[in-house]
Symmetry: C2
């Protein structure tokens, strides 16, 4: 298909597709004449993926490029996960965290096989440090409930990945699930909060 | 205490505290002389709260002001929740969503008492629309797992709120929990993903 059709099929403006091409996010089409390239289904799929991770997932173009390179690489899945996780996670300097909050975070994920530099471990410690600094009561039961919820979500993530047929499809799901999962959970938690509030307080 | 002590107690620079005062996020201290104000424990608490929602929660100053006004108001809790939810959620135009994605989102939260304009409902529909556009397999089992996880987290949120002694403390927990809960879950999901990946694929 021509550029115009790629645009109408995906709903992404021609200018944006050209931007993706220039930024190296989208592979070039096949030249059908010196001035005309032809695009296939894999381009449709890729344009939708880029738009999804950028517009809904909130990734920068540089971050989108990193996760797309990871999909196109032959990295083992665990390392593809690592790239996706580091790309969607804010860099946290461990020295900005107090030891007690790290210990609390480690207690919350007791028994989990997690590398000390997992971005989630540091981010959890930072949330715990903040939660306790603002003078909330002991957050341990709250953290524990969230850890159980996160473990259930991670199992669901891996089920999705296991169900895909090959390495490329699995890697794509790693990225999509990592990027969109935060947004899905945040969205559903808002709805669930309204529901539970309504059950408990009426209204 | 003087400004300098408020700064050293909270670890927030004097310039930042003055900025919070100017922006109306922090109430003025009591004037102990024409040029000197005195600050109390409630200022310590409030400075930590502002820093937490801005630096860890990622709120803008305008958004922080909105949630702090909601804490200081006498809004019923359900409405304080609404303010907090709308403040941390991106505005989504319902007309940008296709009907089918909204129906899918409603199916995921079947039986929940949720207002059609709940920001989570629209955000969930947008994630679902994106997930399906990028050619993932039927996401229903993944959405359902996330809905169960979100409901468990919302129950934990409400348990925290119920445990607080009075309206002001409950309202503060509504805001802190809403703002920090997304970050806590995202962090723990990263760690849980590494754990479950390691269990399933070794490494």
């Amino acid at each position: 298909m021509k550029m115009r059709e790629l645009s109408s099929t995906t709903g992404v403006p021609v200018g944006t597709i050209k931007f993706y091409l220039r930024e190296g996010l989208l592979p070039s089409g096949e030249l059908s004449s010196p001035n005309q390239a032809s695009y296939g289904d894999e381009h449709v799929r890729r344009v939708r993926l880029i738009r999804g991770v950028v517009e809904v997932g909130g990734l920068s173009i540089a971050a989108a490029r990193r996760v797309i390179e990871a999909i196109d690489s032959d990295l083992p899945l665990a390392e593809t996960f690592e790239v996706a996780q580091h790309t969607v996670s804010e860099q946290i300097d461990e020295s900005s965290l107090d030891i007690r909050s790290l210990e609390r975070a480690d207690a919350v994920m007791a028994g989990w096989r997690v590398h000390p530099q997992n971005p989630g471990r540091l981010a959890a410690a930072r949330v715990i440090q903040t939660f306790e600094a603002v003078g909330q009561r002991d957050g341990a039961p709250w953290y524990a409930s969230y850890a159980r919820a996160a473990l259930a979500a991670a199992e669901a993530d891996l089920d999705e990945i296991d169900a895909r047929p090959d390495r490329a499809a699995k890697a794509e799901t790693v990225v999509v699930g990592t990027v969109l999962g935060d947004a899905l959970f945040a969205a559903l938690r808002r709805a669930a909060q309204e529901h539970v509030t309504s059950l408990r307080y009426g209204g």
